[in-house]
């Protein structure tokens, strides 16, 4: 068990800068997920922590010791790979015990540890099989078992669920969370799937273009994104962004979307945006769940308008509706009983109490 710290970590390849000065502190027992689009440097960062890539600049510390020049085997880490990386000629038990056997652990202890891990992962009856006799989900369990038996300071997961089908991914996600609850080992988990990030993490680190965009709890990132990138990346369907500006109408602050549409801001938001320039070009960020069918009762900050729907997507528990506003496609979530249909019109309402304003530098105000 140990904390992990990254101090101004850089990784440069010949002509590419993959990681550009990352600062990150991961507490003992914490489950941190690095998330971002492909090529954002998240896997490179993880591989640097593992010791599989050299650090160009900066320091990586595990348990307080700088490990930049420590080989992977001496870092006391375990890694689970996207494609499992099981040794094909060994049985499940041999795969799991390989690291321990190299370190000449007593046979009885190896057996005990393998059995315990196998029980935890529900693969007891598979221990004598070869990897090729296992399904994808079972192979990933074995890969996790191989990590668990070593009882390392840090678990590293490199997109471990990307090769599994959607249903199995959900199942394994829960398994991983359960395992972490049991063993409480500090974990760094890399994924490009923001749902995985949100569901697994104690804290999520959103990365983009080699830099950290924001670090926070899943709820924090969802409700208070710091940048346009985070706001757009976290959440599915993604947040809607509409060009807008602020305008004073009859002494009240309004957000003007088009010549015809302007919504008065609720009191809280009006105070918050009081000092924003009135001529400044802004983006109004609204999550789909804050664009719903209009209800009869009026509340502060809920503003109704009519929309002609382009497409509707019934999801069962809700219906996603898509309409166009000044050339921008907007997504809303309505009740399945709201009579939304393709090409039909519907009275919708936006909840401005949950709006975000993004300025031209990409920062959420």
């Amino acid at each position: 068990m140990a904390e992990v710290s990254l101090r101004k970590v850089f990784k440069r390849y010949e002509d590419v800068e993959a990681v550009r000065g990352i600062d990150l502190d991961i507490a003992d027992h914490e489950f941190v997920v690095l998330v971002g689009p492909s090529g954002c440097g998240k896997s490179t960062t993880l591989r640097m922590v593992a010791g599989l890539e050299d650090v160009t600049d900066g320091d990586i510390m595990i348990g307080g010791d700088v490990v930049n020049d420590v080989p992977p085997k001496d870092r006391d880490i375990a890694m689970v790979f996207q494609n499992y990386a099981l040794y094909p000629h060994m049985t499940v038990a041999e795969n799991m015990s390989f690291g321990l056997r190299l370190k000449h652990y007593p046979k009885t202890e190896i057996k005990a540890r393998v059995n315990e891990a196998a029980r935890m992962l529900d693969i007891v009856e598979l221990v004598d099989r070869k990897p090729k006799q296992l399904s994808g989900g079972q192979r990933q369990r074995v890969a996790m078992g191989r990590a668990i038996v070593r009882n390392p300071k840090v678990f590293l997961f490199d997109e471990p669920l990307s090769n599994l089908d959607a249903k199995l991914r959900v199942q394994m996600r829960i398994e991983i969370k359960k395992v972490h609850q049991k063993v409480r080992t500090t974990t760094i988990y890399v994924t490009h799937d923001q749902v995985e990030a949100m569901t697994l993490a104690d804290r999520v680190v959103v990365m983009n273009k080699g830099r950290i965009e924001q670090i926070g709890t899943p709820n924090d990132l969802y409700h208070n994104p710091a940048t346009l990138f985070v706001a757009g990346f976290i959440g599915s369907p993604a947040m809607n962004f509409l060009p807008c500006r602020l305008e004073e109408i009859a002494g009240k602050l309004n957000v003007r979307l088009t010549d015809r549409i302007a919504f008065p801001l609720p009191l809280g938001r009006a105070t918050r945006y009081q000092n924003v320039g009135r001529a400044e070009k802004l983006l109004l960020g609204l999550r789909p769940e804050h664009i719903t069918e209009a209800s009869a009762s009026a509340r502060s900050g809920i503003e109704a308008f009519d929309a002609v729907l382009d497409v509707t997507e019934p999801m069962g528990m809700e219906t996603l509706v898509y309409f166009t506003l000044e050339g921008t496609q907007v997504c809303g979530r309505v009740n399945p009983n709201a009579c939304a249909r393709d090409g039909g019109s519907l009275r919708l309402a936006v909840d401005l109490n949950n709006m975000h304003l993004v300025n031209q530098t990409g920062a959420v105000i």
């Binding site: 494609n83 499992y84 070869k130 090729k132 296992l134 192979r139």
Partner: protein, 303 residues
């Protein structure tokens, strides 16, 4: 109603297009035709050898049907197998081939691992260079090599010419480049994550090679072994040049030098010797093929 329509459409389509089954049948016919052709082509010489080896010298020189044995005899086999000289050739060949296989594997497997995995400056160029050396024909090399060993003998006093073990230095120049090339291919096909996992599990480079790479690349190792053995066993030019005394000869050269006396060809024994000489590689193929399990890497990663 709709079901009936589909049923009607089914057979009609088959008759009209039916391309898959029809094409397959023709493809099979052509394959069998060519396979038979090649089988005849490949089998006629050994069958002729077998027939001739069962004939007496008198029957061979008589103008009878060469494809039939009228008075089968094992005399050629008995004579050869009871001749100390022939057994000496056999033993020399076996010693040389086994030793060359071991030397080749000891050099080319670590070399291939280094070239395939430990990315160092110039490793890619070196890998290509290794293969290019294989393309130099041995008929070009034997004169300079001969000179080299004569000089070496003059300088050090260690006489290697006309000793069977000189071949242990020479054959690897033929086997190592190609075996290294084969192994580079096999090692390169092993997913990178496998050695990274081993590295994290605490394995050294040598342990990664011996405990992960060699078992996983076993089919490649067997292919390389078969190649090295066949090359050593069948090599003719080098032993002909480098060894002359009858007790130092290997089988192919031994058969030719001792069974052809002037213009007298002892065909019966030549064919018997060739047939007996072809047996060990055949046995080794048959034995190793059992272990040549394709797709051993299945299951390592998402396939």
């Amino acid at each position: 109603m709709s079901t009936i329509a589909i049923e009607k459409a089914g057979p009609r389509r088959k008759v009209k297009y039916g391309s898959m089954r029809h094409d397959r049948a023709w493809a099979l016919r052509w394959s069998y035709f060519f396979l038979t052709l090649f089988a005849i082509f490949a089998l006629v010489p050994p069958i002729y050898m077998l027939i001739t080896s069962l004939k007496s010298s008198a029957e061979i020189s008589a103008a009878t049907n060469p494809w039939w044995v009228f008075h089968p005899t094992l005399s050629n086999y008995i004579e050869l197998l009871s001749s100390n000289q022939f057994l000496r050739f056999f033993l020399n060949s076996a010693l040389v081939s086994v030793a060359v296989v071991i030397i080749t594997m000891l050099i080319s497997v670590p070399a291939a691992f280094a070239l395939a995995r430990m990315k160092f400056w110039g490793s890619a160029t070196l890998a290509t260079g290794v293969f290019l050396t294989y393309l130099v024909p041995d008929s070009l090399l034997f004169i300079p090599l001969f000179k080299m060993f004569v000089l070496l003998g003059d300088w050090t006093g260690v006489q290697l010419i006309n000793r069977w073990y000189v071949l242990l230095f020479i054959y690897p120049t033929l086997t190592v480049p190609f075996c290294t090339w084969i192994m580079i291919g096999y090692f390169a096909s092993i997913p990178k994550e496998l050695d990274e996992a081993a590295l994290i599990d605490g394995a050294s480079w040598l342990q990664t090679l011996t405990r992960i790479f060699i078992p996983v690349a076993l089919p490649g190792l067997i292919a390389a072994t078969i190649f090295a053995f066949t090359v050593s066993w069948a090599q003719f030019l080098y032993p002909l040049v480098f060894t002359t005394s009858t007790d130092q000869l290997v089988l192919p050269v031994g058969i030719i030098t001792t069974l052809i006396k002037g213009d007298v060809f002892n065909w019966g024994q030549i064919m018997t010797g060739a047939l007996l000489g072809a047996a060990p590689p055949l046995i080794i193929y048959a034995f190793l093929m059992d272990y040549y399990i394709a797709g051993l890497t299945a299951g390592a990663t998402k396939g």
